[in-house]
Symmetry: D2
Subunit: 340 residues, 4 copies
């Protein structure tokens, strides 16, 4: 950290900061500029509370120098992580192949799930998604089929050979979801739910971690750090859009997260253009864009009849639209030296 003193602060103010730095077990380095003094801290200050320094009289602000995450950083682990998803086909995320994860928003019944599972597999998807526990903003809306849905999902995975991915919303669901699913999804609303992150960090299933609506990149990578630090190194990041002032989309999808993650971390990054836009007509163009930007995978919602989907019909692709999108994405993947 670097402590920036206010212009015109007094020597005792600087002395107090220096004293506190030493109390914190770090070394100090004072630089007196023409207008301002700054105090640089030498040592690993990641676990130190910078708020203490900000509380000192005469301090203007404290600037972080070190990235706050460690084991999620590229610096600690220079090679990109390649994560196997399981299932009979056991596709990998983070290697040359772009991973296509597709399926219904909610699992509604066995037959629709099977129809969609076979269709997405045939079109080239390598992972099946489907929701059994649904986080709903509105308590009066459909909350998912629960364990019954998980059973259907596991069955669809077995029939198709695709690994299956589904959301786990709370600690008490971790065991049951891990029993049926190959990949555990942490939803955007739970990215800051640290207890849940630690709980999935104690399983041996890969975790798809969605970015919080208003999370910074540092917070996103620190959430991954929670999981890895709890014992589970298999974290797949997922950019799914952020809240902004834009009103023609459900969320704003910032694809620059892809090169940023590639530079700062060794973890693979997947993009969800369905939640990232909320509009089915935008999904194919944003899926192509994500692949062109270097994403390791795409997660989309597919439904045999979006107008009767129980949830998220507006951003679900029909089976035909998905197949068409796959063809387009394949061409783009090849253009950037990837496979699909």
């Amino acid at each position: 950290m670097i402590v920036v003193m206010r212009a015109g602060c007094q020597k005792p103010d600087v002395d107090r900061v220096v004293h506190l730095v030493r109390e914190m077990g770090l070394k100090d380095h004072v630089i007196v500029g023409t207008e301002r003094t700054v105090v640089a801290l030498i040592g690993d200050d990641r676990a130190k509370d910078k708020s203490k320094l900000e509380a000192c009289p005469g301090v203007d602000r404290v600037v972080d120098i070190l990235a706050p995450y460690k084991i999620a950083s590229r610096q600690t682990h220079p090679e990109p992580s390649v994560i196997p998803l399981g299932g009979a086909l056991n596709p990998k995320v983070g290697g040359k192949q772009v991973c296509m994860m597709a399926g219904p928003c909610s699992i509604e019944n066995r037959s629709m799930l099977m129809e969609i599972a076979h269709a997405v597999k045939e079109a080239g998807a390598t992972c099946l998604r489907g929701g059994a526990f649904k986080p709903r903003t509105n308590p009066y809306e459909f909350q998912g089929l629960g364990e019954k849905g998980l059973e259907m999902l596991a069955e669809a995975g077995e029939e198709t050979g695709l690994p299956v991915c589904t959301e786990v919303m709370s600690i008490d669901q971790v065991l049951v979801v891990a029993k049926y699913a190959d990949v555990l999804q942490i939803g955007t609303r739970n990215m800051h739910n640290f207890n849940l992150l630690m709980a999935v960090g104690k399983t041996d299933k890969p975790v798809l971690l969605k970015r919080g609506w208003s999370a910074t990149l540092n917070e996103f990578l620190l959430a991954a750090e929670y999981i890895i630090q709890s014992g589970n190194p298999n974290v797949i990041l997922c950019e799914r859009g952020i809240r902004t002032h834009e009103d023609h989309v459900r969320n704003t999808l910032p694809l620059a997260t892809v090169p940023a993650v590639k530079r700062e971390s060794h973890l693979p990054i997947v993009v969800d253009p369905a939640h990232g836009t909320g509009r089915a007509y935008m999904v194919p163009s944003m899926a192509r864009a994500a692949i062109a930007a270097g994403a390791d995978g795409i997660m989309v919602e597919v439904h045999c009849d979006p107008q009767h989907a129980w949830t998220d019909g507006a951003q679900s692709l029909t089976l035909d639209a998905f197949a068409q999108m796959m063809r387009e994405c394949r061409a783009v993947a090849e253009a950037v030296g990837r496979e699909l």
Copy 2:
């Protein structure tokens, strides 16, 4: 809801929407304008998924007409709710008296807590806050004393007669926190943690619900609805700032939430200017402003030695600064016809 068709859509597109509306058990009302057709839905459509309609060809967008919450709304419950907090003094939130909630960010040890508790009571606070389970963005930082901290907090409450308020972060903590605390706090990171909302909704303790970083007003009131619907009507809303582009504050504190909540809901609303700004020097002016705007309470962080606070020192008031703030807030409260 009102379904807005795209300009130039075809009659079969409208027919399909009408058909779907009827399938949903609602009545339709088609209005043909000079450029666009809209289909109004008649009936309570709160539990209906608007995404289905958005998925229909020829639909531009679907506009909600009804407020999505019911039992949290002022319409259902025209009188403001006045909520007793418990403790020997049993102050109320939502009546004429403005409730001042103060205490350390984290409980660090017994003696500091007692010192702060007595000081804030003497200055006029009516509720003691203090963190035992701490949600930390960084896994390497202090995570709170846990149950040991809760014991100390309960003791401080007994000694001073003040009700005590502390955060509960996950379902498995609800029982233990409810055992010691008078008021259960749901933090900003958990406002969308619906399982936790339902769990605190099954206790008989009042719940202080903090607004999510990027929550809309509707989402905030729907989170309250989750709690009330689970059986607990005693929800106190707390505005604590939102994420924006502003970089001179930790969060942007939108005080217009106060009149908005007063208009839309019967629930009391408290403001947290400490998290809402992140800067101790701004806290008193924003506390005064919140009271002038009509807030039912203020929650602040107070520490006997902010430079050695284990967490959030930068936004903690010293004991003297808190006492001074109380005098200023009292004058403003009286100017707007309240007491403190």
Copy 3:
């Protein structure tokens, strides 16, 4: 500035930065930490382009240490500026008295303007506002009466003794607006229109500078710096709300700008709760809050018949509502040691 090198950068990377710093006419100070090296720049680097340093290989980012503005800063000018507005009554902004600026959004005709001018004066307003050149997002909407409106405004100023404030939208309007108005308003859309800032900086009329929709505090104060540097020290800042994700208000009104400006600058700060919320029912509570926070003035829109106002009726107060708001604001002003 402080240049933060990437972890693992090489010595030639640091040398290149040092060389560039010296080329820029500044002194360098290299600090080698346990994980990262930083290079501090010594000297006034305000006019130096930090982008050059960011372009060097091995550089992670460059952190500003000095505030970018000078003559707008409190450091240069420790006493608060008190700015006379002109007109027969010549009220001041920035002293003990809170300045109430009120009037119609648009000047529609002579009689409505006179009626409103007399009513706001009687209720205690000390400055009359009214728009003659209107920036309209939609080219098909009313664009203002132009010079005819300015004439009416000047007449209303003379009749009531109130100074008059009105917006100037482009350089070619500066002369004509300065001929009739006492205070020149720069609207939110023009805060970054540097040519216009320099043009009003060459007049001798006080300038009310509205914050841009997405401006940072630094950018806001730099816009003031443009005006002052051009020769006009009489700049009044105006917080009028920012663009965020909130959808229950037209803008989000961040009142923490008030204490922030008081700390960083000597310029007075006025708050506009009409544009800051867009809803008439919120205006009085936010006006009270702004005064409680320490604002030097309030600017609101008042209309004798909001339902027939040509612009901004939804956020305009009726004459009665304004008089009521004035009584409430007076009580709050006294509670915080101000007059109104």
Copy 4:
């Protein structure tokens, strides 16, 4: 528009709205729902002020149904506009060919400009950009070479055959910029500068209109409408990033603007990944992504020596990096059926 009444409003409230609608020259259509009443307005209400209706007692809010722009809309002009840029080569924007616009941020001197111009042409760029009038947030920074820079730019255009594009910041610069440039650029800070929009709308040069930092899509298209309505149909939209809470980028680049503009408007859309990220290392991946999303062009900053660039070095590509990016972009363009 649709006027949504508050729950529990009275009949006179509805009558007042109906009366006002008729006064506005529109037809009304009242729909009484189970909880709320809505009043639909029939007719072209684009030039009507919705604020009047919002000002009526009992009104909750007013929802726009019609898109506010007309001549910029795809509905009025179903075929995509293809706009020739001029210069000897006269490339077009909006057709099959993706237009690559490249050059230095600022024109610094003749020799650097010529070097860059020839290099970008050789690499395949079809338009040369370069700034002569520079909008600078900080008044102490380099403001551009002015007309001298324009002369150099025109010369570089003649030598290479490339059309040249440069920013015009104020009305008094329009004539001189139009004398030298083939394409007039309106910068992000001026997107809401309606007087300037009308002024460039009276020239016969194509206009590259950059999106404002916090503009909605409607506001962006309305700014284009101002230009077209003033007589100039040749508007090229440019997405260059928006202000959000993200702190690892200079701006957040929302590529979903590309499919949204394609759906709503006939105007071509270009993407600027340099300003859209602020980081040179992200520019190639976001340029590829923009093309994959369907953008009609890319605008980037290129410099022979970014560490000595007078402005924006951090987001400028070296000549080699640009040539490499062109090769990558060409492959992606072909994969999506475009040329480059």
